[in-house]
Assembly symmetry: C2
Homo-oligomer: 111 residues x 2
Amino acid sequence: MTAHTPGPWSDPVTGVCPVAETLRLLGGKHGPTLLHCLTGGEMHFLELSRALGGISRKVLTEQLRVFEAEGLISRTPKQDARRRVAYALTPRGQALGAIIVQLYDWSTARV
Amino acid sequence: MTAHTPGPWSDPVTGVCPVAETLRLLGGKHGPTLLHCLTGGEMHFLELSRALGGISRKVLTEQLRVFEAEGLISRTPKQDARRRVAYALTPRGQALGAIIVQLYDWSTARV
């Protein structure tokens, strides 16, 4: 038997692998990109919409709601004349964003 | 305009986000777990099969082939009486494995 880190690879109660769960949460075409965008600081809806290229208003709104419900991003209505809403990563979202950035670097590096 | 890291969020030629590509590569029920297992060192087929619980021989074989084709793991037939085959992470697989471990820690931590 070769030495290796023992499990748990899955939750002892639910049997679900937490990494697979996280990947599912991130899944979808725009999820990782959205988090990646926000690692640079807060952005308004229209800025995000532009940064994400072809995303529809509806899909972006839904994705933002999912991440807000998961505690990854915060939503702050601004008290300005344009009634803009700013989105930013929570500390938990920032921690995940930092991992996404590493995944990005890994993906683009030809080691 | 709020300061934020500019793109590229997607490959300028293919239009594909490299992180989304990596997540797709990892996707599936057993992919992340398999890499996570191997971060502890090389393992034989049967050890992997046991560590991954309910995985079928067929699915494990296929997943190992995909990761081998992607350059994430190496396959070494042992010159022993049991004709076992050892699987280990390549340097590129190790780099991804280290990120998976961080994802695991993030997933299980309640920040």
